[in-house]
Amino acid sequence: MAKNKIRIEMPKQSAESRSKNFEEVALGYTEEMALLEAERCLECKDPVCIEGCPVNVQIPSFIKYIKEKKYAEAAAKIKETNSLPSVCGRVCPQEEQCEAKCILSKAGKPVAIGRLERFAGDFALDEKTRTCAVKFKAGKNSVAVVGSGPGGLTCAADLAIKGYDVTIYEALHEAGGVLVYGIPEFRLPKSIVKAEVEYLKSIGVKFQMNVVIGKTMSLHDLFDEGFKAVYLGLGAGLPKFMNLPGENLLSIYSANEYLTRTNLMKAYKFPEYDTPIKKGNKVAVIGGGNVAMDAVRSALRYGANQAMIIYRRSKEELPARKEEIENAEEEGVKFHFLVNPLEFIGDDDGFVKHIKLQKMELGEPDSSGRRKPVPIKGSEFLFDVDVVVVAIGQTANPVLLEVTPEIKTNKWGNIEIFNEYGQTSMKGVFAGGDIVTGEATVIQAMGAGKKSAEGIDLFIKSL
């Protein structure tokens, strides 16, 4: 058979239909598509794609298994280094990582590694096809992981595979952290997260939900219970606001609240589910990152006539993934560039009605290398809205750290680490992900969790 030279597209729901439902947009490869795409992998002797992966997935090896129709083995190969293939296949920015390194990307058509990872991961999701990367035996040394987001799950899985008895403590009622409260169903179905969590349980990881470490138990309590080490994957759990007049008017949400109501609490199924949300006709989302795209696309699905992004720079500087921006555009999201909010104005009952916006122009590049937006004097105007979502990022959540002075933090409240393994200033306590770096991606948090798992292993062996 001649080698396929065309990068196989993944089928999606049409923009018309998907903008009206919360079901997954991208439908995944069929077996036939996966086989055609897998053929394109050149099986380089020195595979540079692996260097692009923060968790070192053995990319050519798993793709080779797909070529041989050994899908369970493909999944097992990925899971040697990445416990969440179905998650990563969906939400990793492959275009900046593995696929950017792929030899074929020079011609603009890298192997669709993410889509193949998703295919293999999904194959091994249910119990019958689930595969264990490694035979494990529950060890006598136990480790506590605080937070069940992508970093915590990865750290826990790696430690379980290394033979530790691992317990994950989660503050919310569902495991997955940002994967369940933040990323919407239409990008990452919650059934996928659940299945990945089930896989972790199958390799012996225990989950304790509704435990807020710092409140329900302290870090010292964990050591008293016999844990030898603790990993803190707390996430960046405190939404930023702009401190503008009127920002506490009704129907102004942080992206965290808007997405948590939607994804964790299922407000899109109200009144079947009890948690409500203000749907709105004119919904303005302030910010230009992936979270802003998730919020504005959710607003469309709630039935907004106008779902809009308000961004103070231009399209070039949007920090969101290109794929998400394109999806949003196709679905009918309106983008307003080079405008910045100054004030929110409400009605007598306190609901937001207008945003006062100021026009901006781009000046010299700032420290981030992006051109800095500069206000244009006298350009203020009023903009009608009935729901606003503030998606300008988050800072470190203080709940655990304010009662644990042993752990040093920097001026932004993020945990300071002292080596590549995420060692904190407290003995036996490691940290990684957004609580250390500030907001980053799912895969970066996973990379940090993986590194800390190595560090914790070394630490316990040295005791």
């Binding site: 409260y181 329900t216 942080s254 203080p398």
Partner: protein
Amino acid sequence: MTLIIEKETHARNIHKFVIKSPLIARHAKPGQFVVIRAFEKSERIPITICDKDAKNGTITLYIQEVGASTARIAGLKEGENFLDIAGPLGRPAHITKVGKVITIGGGVGSAITYPETKAYKESGNYVISIMGFRSKDHVILEDEMKVVSDEAYITTDDGSYKEKGFVTDKLREIIKRGDKIDEVLVIGPAIMMKVVSDITKEHKIKTIASLNSIMVDGTGMCGACRVEVGGKTKFACVDGPEFDAHQVDFDLLLKRIAMYADEEKESYEKITGKDKDGKE
């Protein structure tokens, strides 16, 4: 899963639950709250802890039926479970010996003033408690509060029990009789806290209020509970729930807690088949 050891319906629409939760019982302090999601489809709702028994690993909660999720909770019986409960959340109350203290509870808010009244008493204060209810049917914690108060008063809006009138009438009366009051604690409906705060501000009496904001996660993650205190935005869940009442923007709080009034009515009627006044 959290087992319900004891349930009593104390007053109309107010239910007392004693539940098994050893970790929360071990760490809970007066003023702190729990977040409950009683069923799969329920909201996460904050409920302040009324009492705890660390030895037996139980906590006591008073829950008023006000919306869909609390209506579902009202149907739970002894031996059944709350699906999820997390806590103790929020900052504990800062209770020290200051002298003479008045604690004011409105309706189910009295379930929260109770542990703090007890703590004020145990700290060596002279404690006057005032509890206000709509009518005789709504009275809770009367005997318990007597034990921990030097003076205990009850008012009812309709005069069907004890003194007719509002808690604010009683407060004015006590201030008028010339006692030097060092601190006031007020917990109840936002409008009541606002009126009490206005009175004590006039008399320059330090006053603490526990704010009943809408919350989702209860750990600082979402900002649903934001309030303005001294012109600054605070999160009631992690910065509170207790604040200096004289600094609180109660008008904003009143608006924010009514944000979902229409949606709450819709889902409550769907669950119970009746409106909030109990009409079919």
